[in-house]
């Protein structure tokens, strides 16, 4: 099992990366928009610390944390946001369309689930797992249920990590979701573990056996994690009650992990990660912009 200081470091890399994104957005160095993962770091890190080579990760519009926890390059992600040639996808995808090795993110909510299922079908019997991150908002999309049905029917090796951050963009869960989240998986006969926690150690602990069951082709499993995002859905679009945000901030996954570590370790990791983030963004900023002469490369059979 990884040590707590390792968990802390990986979570902090995400936190400080995202804080830098929000800090630099007003400077106009990024294109488009972004969806930060601040507050949800324990989910990605607790689950993806179990990754084995060849495992597939399917992510969504809020993908920076998943990508960094997967092992993706901080510099390449920053460069992608800035539209640089050195970006993960050369500036074509931007913040929510990231692909590297066996990591795939797409900004169409829930639309990733059929793809994840197909990859799981292709990996059936290989011992590999497909891990799909979705959120409570995606539970409004029909493609999710078509996918759960097929995965359960065919015992496909898929772990669904449902991060319930209690909002679909600006709409609270009470206004967009009927019934229970777990019940949705249970309806398809998919075993589900439901955790209301921001403790990375707890998430790591429960994700391990679920992934083992998935790898042994015991069929799909679901891990529902109740969480909260501390930052806006996107950038400046937060209409939530500040008191509510403050309430959930008391369970900050970073603060929780830090409280279990010696102060000098926390300080030293903080310094190292801070320097790493600063260097990644400065380097990305100096990289050459995406190259319009390569625009048509890989555009299929376009004439």
């Amino acid at each position: 099992m990884p040590t707590l200081d390792h968990f802390y470091r990986v979570m902090l890399r995400i936190r400080l990366f995202e804080e830098q994104v929000l800090a630099w957005f007003p400077k106009g160095v990024f294109y488009g928009t972004t969806h930060t993962y601040i507050g949800q770091e324990a989910d990605a890190v607790g689950v993806l610390e179990h990754l084995a080579p060849g495992d597939v990760v399917v992510s969504n519009h809020r993908c920076h944390g998943h990508f960094l926890a997967y092992g993706g390059s901080m510099h390449a992600l920053a460069a992608e946001l800035m539209g640089r040639q050195t970006g993960v996808c050369g500036g074509r995808g931007g913040s929510q369309h990231i692909q590297w090795r066996d990591f795939y993110a797409n900004g169409i909510l829930g639309g990733t689930m059929p793809l994840a299922s197909g990859m799981a079908l292709a990996e059936r019997g290989s011992g590999q797992a497909v891990i799909a991150f979705i959120g409570d908002g995606s539970l409004g999309e029909g493609a999710v249920y078509e996918s759960l049905n097929m995965c359960a029917l065919w015992s496909l090796p898929l772990l669904v990590v449902l991060e319930n951050n209690r909002y679909a963009q600006s709409t609270p869960i009470a206004r967009h979701l009927a019934g229970s989240i777990s019940g949705r998986f249970e309806a398809f006969g998919i075993p589900v573990v439901h955790e209301d926690t921001t403790d990375v150690l707890r998430i790591y602990e429960v994700a391990g056996p679920l992934l083992e069951q998935v790898r042994r082709s015991g069929g799909p499993r679901a891990l529902v994690i109740d969480t909260y995002r501390f930052a806006p859905h996107s950038k400046g679009d937060d209409t939530r009650d500040p008191a509510e945000i403050a309430h959930y901030r008391e369970n900050d996954p970073i603060g929780l992990a830090a409280s279990r570590l010696p102060a000098d370790i926390v300080t030293s990791i903080g310094d190292q990660v801070g320097a790493e983030v600063a260097a990644a963004f400065e380097r990305a900023k100096g990289d050459p912009p995406a190259d319009p002469t390569r625009l048509a490369v890989g555009a299929g059979n376009a004439l």
Binding site: C89, L115, S117, A143, E146, V297, G300, N301
Partner: protein, 336 residues
């Protein structure tokens, strides 16, 4: 051999030749073998790689995309082309985009096949030619089989050789039609133009130089064939037909060559007229031959496809519509 047998044989060959080929769709297992029987016998011969699925068009197109991303070569059957809109997001926002969006880092060798079209009385939601809604989606090849030459080879090309996603449209009236071979076996001469998703040129054997060029695809090629013969034998108007297999991306070079001689173009499609394939073809031909082109578009009327025979016949384009258009353009019709 009819078109159904050609397609069935091609699928059998694909499954036989490559163990990465999978076939998925609703109701595709034997003894049913798919709603139009294109899959008949496949599940018996390849039980592990022919998968019958829930009624989930978005789900199974996405499933195929995911399989393709992991190196398989899935063929997904959508029972009726009308149901394709349920999978439009999976086609346009996932399968078609993935290669380019990831900076050419991944490929999606997915084939989605589906029967389109009317003339069988299935009514408004089971008779449409909806392909125009998916033409022009960057990264998605849309091709339509016809009865010409070897429709099975088009399917095999899509499954085994194309590394990018392909939507293959099969007009349901084609299935029972006999394959029309290349050459001069009948009153017609059929030539192949190019390789892969080839276009074809049909003309009346031994006729003088054509005065009119019809451009079309799919089952409308059969109506155009009939129009060609009627025009020649009853009106002494000589025409030629260019039959396209690949609709999108658009490559009109074989057509432009013909128009250099005829300067008269009729586009023919079974979908509704507005903003259709014919409009794009006409626009490009006009751009390429400024001031020198006379034009008619033949297509369905702007309404849903009716179920009752007389209504459906009145709504869909017929052979006589092509004949009339050709007579007008050639100066021998009433409205010339």
């Amino acid at each position: 051999m009819n078109v159904l047998q050609a397609l069935n044989g091609a699928l059998r060959d694909c499954l036989q030749e490559h163990e990465d080929v999978f076939f998925l769709g609703e109701d595709v297992l034997d003894p049913y073998g798919g709603a139009f029987k294109v899959a008949r016998g496949l599940s018996t011969a390849f039980p592990d790689r022919v998968i019958t699925t829930p009624v989930s068009e978005a789900g199974i197109v996405g499933l195929g995309t995911g399989m393709a991303l992991r190196g398989l070569r899935p063929v997904v059957e959508i029972m009726f082309g009308d149901f394709l809109l349920l999978a439009a997001d999976q086609l346009v926002n996932h399968a078609a985009k993935l290669r380019w969006m990831t900076n050419d880092q991944v490929r999606v060798p997915l084939v989605v096949r589906t029967p389109m079209g009317g003339r069988r009385g299935y009514g408004p939601t089971h008779s449409q030619s909806l392909e125009k809604h998916l033409l022009g989606a960057p990264g998605l090849t849309v091709a339509a089989i016809s009865a010409l030459d070897d429709p099975g080879s088009v399917l095999k090309h899509a499954v085994l050789e194309d590394q990018d996603p392909v939507l293959l449209v099969e007009h349901k009236m084609l299935y029972a039609q006999d394959v029309l071979p290349l050459g001069k076996e009948t009153d017609l001469t059929i030539e192949r133009l190019g390789a892969g998703y080839s276009a074809y040129r049909m003309s009346v054997s031994g006729a003088p130089a054509p005065e009119v060029t019809l451009a079309t695809y799919g089952y409308m090629a059969e109506l155009a064939r009939q129009a060609l013969l009627t025009l020649a034998y009853e009106h002494e108007v000589f025409a030629e037909v260019v039959v396209f297999t690949r609709l999108s991306p658009v490559d009109l070079s074989p057509l432009l060559e013909c128009l250099e001689t005829t300067h008269r173009l009729i586009t023919a499609e079974e979908g509704t007229l507005s903003l259709g394939w014919g409009a794009e073809v006409a626009a490009r031909c006009l751009e390429a031959t400024p001031g020198a082109l006379r034009l008619r578009r033949v297509a369905a009327r702007e309404m849903p496809v009716p179920a009752a025979g007389p209504l459906e016949t009145a709504m869909l384009p017929q052979t006589e519509d092509l004949v009339t258009a050709a007579l007008e353009l050639s100066g021998k019709g009433r409205a010339s």
